[in-house]
Symmetry: C2
Subunit: 166 residues, 2 copies
C-alpha cells in the first residue's frame, strides 16, 4: 500500500465505525501539518452524531455522502491568527494530512470544499456557532470504503518542467 | 518512522543529491493530491541548477536555505483552470504531499510561501517567464537533513472539539 497513490475520493462507506485510536492518529496527523510561522491556526470539530450529519447535508449540497458515513471532521481556522495570506495553505495542509492519515489507517475519505464558498461557510459557521474570527474551512467525511475502484494513476509527465517553464 | 509526526521544516542540508527515483516518487505523490472537480491545475518546476537557486534567493528573502540545497520544486498552477475559489487548496494539497513524500524517502524539506505574497509572486513569475494564467504558488526546498532536532509533538487537545464549537 502507498498512501499517496492509493488515496482517492471515497464517497461510499460500509457501516463500520472509525475506531477511537484511529481517529486520534488522524487528528494528530492533522495537527502535525505545517503552518506559516507556526501559528497553528486550525482546529477540528469531530462530528459523529447522525442528527448533526443530517443538518450538515442540508447546508452543503455536495456533502450528501455524510448521511451514510460514521464520521466527519470540520476543519476550522482562525483567519485572524494566520500569518499574512497563508490561511488557506495552513488549513489545506491539515486537511490533506487527514485524508492521507485516513488511508494509512485503512479508511477512505473525501474533502468537501467549504472556504471560500460564501453560502456554505455562512450556513456552517452559523450552525456550529463559530466565533466571529473562526472560519469553516473544509469538511472531511471518513469511513471504511465501500468503493473498490482503484485510485487513478496521477502520473502526468506534462506537469513536470525542468529548470524553466519551457 | 511516521511521515506525519516526523515531518518538520528542514532548513539545513548535507551535500547529498536527491536521487532521481526519489524525485519521481515525490512528483508522483504531488500529482496524486486531490483537486476540486479534478481540474489538476498544478504543475511542478524541478530546479537543480545552482545559478537558478541563487536567482531565486534574490527574489525570496525567506528562501535563503536554497543556496545550500540540492533541489527545489516550484509548485505553480493555472488559477483560471481551478474550480471556483479552490486554487490555494489544490496547490496546497500537492505541496503537502511533496513534503510528506520527501520524508518517506528519507529527505527533509521546507515549504516557502509564495502565493499570495504579491512581491514574491511577481518576482518569481517574471523570472520563470510563467504564462499570464500561471501563478507561482509555493517553493519547496529539499535535501538530506543536516538538522537532528526531533520534530515537535503536534498534539494539542484544545484544538479538538466534539460535535459543536463549545
Amino acid at each position: 500500500m502507498d498512501i499517496f497513490f492509493d488515496r482517492k475520493s471515497v464517497r461510499k462507506y460500509t457501516n463500520e465505525e472509525v475506531k477511537d485510536e484511529d481517529l486520534n492518529y488522524i487528528l494528530r496527523s492533522a495537527m502535525s501539518a505545517p503552518t506559516a510561522k507556526n501559528t497553528r491556526c486550525y482546529s477540528f470539530i469531530v462530528i459523529k452524531d447522525k442528527t448533526t450529519h443530517a443538518e450538515i447535508a442540508k447546508r452543503h449540497e455536495a456533502a450528501q455522502m455524510i448521511l451514510q458515513a460514521p464520521l466527519a471532521i470540520l476543519v476550522v481556522g482562525d483567519e485572524s491568527l494566520a500569518y499574512n495570506s497563508y490561511f488557506p495553505q495552513d488549513c489545506s495542509a491539515a486537511t490533506e494530512n487527514i485524508l492521507l492519515a485516513a488511508v494509512a489507517k485503512g479508511y477512505g475519505a473525501v474533502w468537501c470544499g467549504v472556504y471560500s464558498n460564501e453560502k456554505r461557510q455562512k450556513a456552517l459557521e452559523e450552525f456550529f456557532k463559530l466565533p466571529p474570527n473562526i472560519r469553516a474551512f473544509s469538511l472531511v467525511i471518513i469511513g471504511k470504503s465501500a468503493d473498490d475502484t482503484p485510485a487513478k494513476n496521477g502520473w502526468d509527465e506534462t506537469k513536470i518542467k525542468y529548470e524553466r517553464w519551457q
